[in-house]
């Protein structure tokens, strides 16, 4: 049942691709660059964020005024602020596209679970950075959010009240509060880069930028939006104002939407369950090797006597599964006699794709269950029949 739903989702995803490829050359299909688009938006966010950071004052009395100052007095401040806001939405959209696309097209199999797991952390951190961003404006919306957050945290047994104090930096909103929020906005944003390193570590030549058209398009879009629909703050937060219900941005604020329907503790539990399930996805529907057939042809093996140390497989393996080590002894074939290096496959990283087989011109690599002579035998049989 669940499997069938996923299969249908996969079909739908790929059908969209087919349609888009009719309109655009496939190298430009934006859905092939959701990761690159996320990275592009992240870069826009970081750059505009640095600009805003110069002017922002993390103090409950000053924050709102400093943002008004940015918007009204600083040259291009209004635009940059808008860019920061809209790029954040673009970031989330791109991340979710990236997540769902890779989920539905099963790009988490074998050792691809490393990008998947790090991706879950990236998602969590990105959402967190987004939410803390809403507090920066320190208007009535931020105040309402704060009330809801405190309510949620307080519902955690035992540590709840303590977490409350930790977040606020004291018994109530004070001088230290916004400094903490700024910290929680900036530090996880920087941590995203650490996580990205983990995300890319097993990927050779990761596509971290979309094609130039899409870079220009996204840039144009956020700039255009920020000048056409300027971002505005609400009224300044004040201790006397009553937090009211306000329209929430669904992309980042869905945990708060949940509060309408479930108790605060359940919203936290649900978030936690979703996150854990996300981590479990790559291991959930692993097929048995017998049914995988040619998709599970065994970890690539180096035929040591033939390897010349030419490094071609090392450059082409998409998962950095091949490393070159100093050759312990000369190879046996003529070409391999004077080798300095030897290719070694790290088994835990190999996804059994066979790309290194195609790369090796010296017949020094084989997939154990789909050996070169088997392929050639079948080709011969086909030619003779």
């Amino acid at each position: 049942m669940y499997k069938r739903i996923l299969k249908n989702l996969q079909r739908a995803t790929l059908q969209v691709d087919v349609l888009l490829n009719r309109v655009l050359p496939s190298d430009w299909n934006p859905l092939y660059y959701t990761g690159g688009l996320s990275n592009l938006f992240l870069t826009i966010l970081i750059l505009s964020g640095i600009f805003l950071f110069f002017y922002y004052v993390p103090d409950p009395n000053e924050a709102h005024r400093s943002i008004t100052f940015i918007t009204e007095r600083v040259p291009y401040g209004r635009i940059i602020r808008g860019v920061h806001r809209y790029a954040a939405d673009g970031f989330m959209v791109a991340i979710f596209l990236h997540l769902f696309r890779n989920w539905f097209t099963e790009r988490y199999l074998f050792s691809r679970d490393i990008p998947w797991i790090s991706g879950m952390f990236l998602l969590g951190f990105a959402g967190f950075v987004g939410i803390t961003g809403y507090f920066m404006a320190w208007d009535d919306r931020a105040q309402a959010l704060l009330a809801m957050t405190l309510h949620m945290l307080r519902s955690i047994p035992l540590v709840g009240p303590w977490l409350n104090e930790l977040l606020l930096g004291g018994g109530g909103v004070g001088e230290r509060t916004l400094v903490r929020f700024l910290f929680l906005h900036v530090v996880p944003a920087v941590t995203l880069y650490l996580l990205l390193w983990w995300h890319y570590i097993r990927i050779r030549h990761p596509k971290i930028w979309p094609p130039a058209v899409w870079v220009l398009f996204s840039l144009g879009l956020v700039f255009l939006l920020s000048s056409l629909v300027p971002v505005v703050s609400g009224v300044p937060a004040s201790p006397t104002a009553q937090p009211q219900v306000i329209p929430l941005d669904f992309l980042y604020m869905w945990p708060y939407w949940l509060l309408k329907y479930v108790g605060p503790i359940w919203a936290i539990v649900l978030g936690f369950v979703l996150f854990s399930y996300g981590m479990y996805i790559p291991y959930q529907l692993r097929e048995k090797p017998e049914v995988m057939g040619v998709r599970h042809a065994g970890v690539a093996q180096v035929i040591e006597p033939n390897c010349t140390g030419c490094e071609l497989c090392y450059y082409d393996c998409p998962y950095n599964a091949i490393i070159m080590v100093p050759s312990p002894r000369p190879g046996q074939t003529k070409a391999a006699q004077n080798r300095k290096l030897l290719a070694v496959v790290i088994e835990s990283r190999c996804v059994e794709c066979g790309i290194c087989i195609g790369a090796c011109p010296f017949q020094a690599l084989e997939l154990p269950r789909l050996m070169e002579n088997q392929v050639l035998e079948r080709v011969l049989a086909a030619c003779r029949s």
Partner: protein, 162 residues
């Protein structure tokens, strides 16, 4: 043009059994149910298909081997460019096939007998259309004697000018 098509259909009568060997990535076109027991395409029975883990798995020497052992044409099919499960397999094999074509040209083997296709999991129709077009093209290139013509001979034929 109609004359050409006419002559090509004549040729196909004389040599109805073009042999084509294809390597299809298991993640690209879904051919479940479209293959016969011995691995031929049901719709185009002179195409023998072998499923492989990724289009990048193919060594160009295997394609050459097939051509030299009696196949009239060979093709590799991967996912649409940009959508390779392994991100690069289809780009790599595309480049390798391009290099190989130059090699074939030097050996006076018609490089158009090798082709690279890219179709996604649910694009079987597109794939079959491309295969049929490829066969049609091959038929034009195969002289009645049975051997596919070389590039040099091709160059003088009118349908090569484009």
């Amino acid at each position: 043009m109609s004359e050409l098509e006419h002559s090509s259909s004549l040729q196909s009568q004389e040599k109805p059994t073009l042999k084509v060997v294809g390597f299809v990535c298991d993640w690209s076109v879904d051919l479940k149910g479209a293959l016969t027991e011995d691995g031929r395409l049901r719709e185009v029975p002179n195409v023998y298909v072998m499923m492989i883990p990724c289009s990048g798995f193919i060594r160009p020497s295997w394609l050459e081997f097939a051509l030299k052992n009696g196949a009239d044409g060979v093709f590799v099919c991967g996912c649409p460019y940009g959508d390779c499960l392994n991100r690069e397999g289809n780009f790599l094999i595309r480049n390798r096939i391009q290099q190989m074509r130059r090699r074939l040209q030097r050996q006076r083997i018609d490089p158009e007998r090798v082709t690279m296709l890219a179709y996604g999991l649910h694009d079987r129709e597109g794939f079959l259309l491309a295969i049929k077009a490829f066969l049609e093209d091959l038929r034009r290139r195969v002289v009645p004697g049975g051997q596919a013509v070389t590039r040099a001979a091709q160059q003088s034929s009118p349908n090569e000018i484009s």
